[in-house]
Symmetry: C2
Subunit: 259 residues, 2 copies
Amino acid sequence: MFTVGIDVGSVTTKVVLLNGRGWRYVVRPTGCSPRQAGHEAFEELLGQAGLSQDDISCVIGTGYGRISLPFIDKAVTEITCHARGAHHLLAGADMVIDIGGQDSKVILTDGRGSVVNFAMNDKCAAGTGRFLEVIAAALGSDVSELADKARGAEPVAISSMCTVFAESEVISLLAQGVAKGRIIAGIHRSVASRVAAMAERLGKGEQIIFTGGVAKNEGVREALSRELGREIIVDLRSQLAGALGAALLAREKPVRKEK
Amino acid sequence: MFTVGIDVGSVTTKVVLLNGRGWRYVVRPTGCSPRQAGHEAFEELLGQAGLSQDDISCVIGTGYGRISLPFIDKAVTEITCHARGAHHLLAGADMVIDIGGQDSKVILTDGRGSVVNFAMNDKCAAGTGRFLEVIAAALGSDVSELADKARGAEPVAISSMCTVFAESEVISLLAQGVAKGRIIAGIHRSVASRVAAMAERLGKGEQIIFTGGVAKNEGVREALSRELGREIIVDLRSQLAGALGAALLAREKPVRKEK
Ligand code: SF4
């Protein structure tokens, strides 16, 4: 029995194929057509596994682009899929912190993969990957380089929470000759403190897993860990948590859309 | 008896000189040194009037840069100065809506120039002049051209309140071929609705005066007027309300700093 989960995020589309023993996946940029990205990633994964669409008993879609996918059997919210997937990656995790390209969320679970409570920010770019992108551009860097450049640097205080005002602050810190590394460390702390505040309103997690595109940034992970006073685990596959959760739910509670 | 009010804003510095019969003023960019801008504008105005610093009985500073002015006798908050100055410009005004380069505020007064209540936003770039600057840049326009370009256009809906997300939305609306004028009209409405919400929390003003750099934008004035269902008066001198109020307070309650 094969099931598939497709997570169409604002930046990347993730597809996970699950069989009895293991899972495989494909990640690709969402680009400007979530529908096409979802479809192509799905076909690519089927091709790699030598399967056809008929071999798949259930396909669940999640992520902001899930509504654009005509071929899925069911759409499930990101929160539910994330919690389920994160539990598979780290058994016993009771909090998932997810920072994506344009939103951030914290999910408190029962430690068995079900959601107890959650908080989400998709209204304000501060505390999301977008904040890092804007600042990286102002620094003439790429987001992928931020963690390396900030390694070991003492964070400088960034007083503005707002992305736009923080960007100006960063430009004026640069003009004052403050080292880039210290500025970036300050920016990592800013993202972390915004998201940590959201986490603390939900209650303290004991086992925290950090997912989403920003989880690849070691500087943000460390800053989050410092803010929350907890170790925070990043599984290298953590950006797949949503798609994996969708595939797991497709196996546990299969539905089949009339076609 | 001469008094002076100096309003050091984030974008421009305004200095007003008051004598028994009338007032004159100087406006100049604040640049990166509020202290220098305040000092030079003050000297320039004294020079124009053929006065020296000793002829001035009291100098009151206001605006975010007031703390950088060593030569003032007293610093008074923007809110108090604005309310006082706006009342002078429009006798009977009981609400002042001020949208500046990086903040916005609404002041409810007693109609005689004293503050009853106020609300202020200086944390989020949305609903400030900064929002307009970011969007103008994305459209390849200058803020000063926005009102002209939007004249008569039906506003397009801008769903993101956040400056950063609205900027992306604007870029994608452009790519879809939506007319610039309609986009700008939508942006004017976005600023207006954000500030109108702040005004409505304070209660309805009967006589509203609109001040600050953004008051020069006729499109924002119209949108505000539509949102609040009230006529909104922009006095061409309204950006001077803070400095004028400071000079009036310097005349009414003079203090002299020991030097
Ligand atoms: S604070 Fe800044 S980043 Fe947040 S919503 Fe406002 S403009 Fe956007």
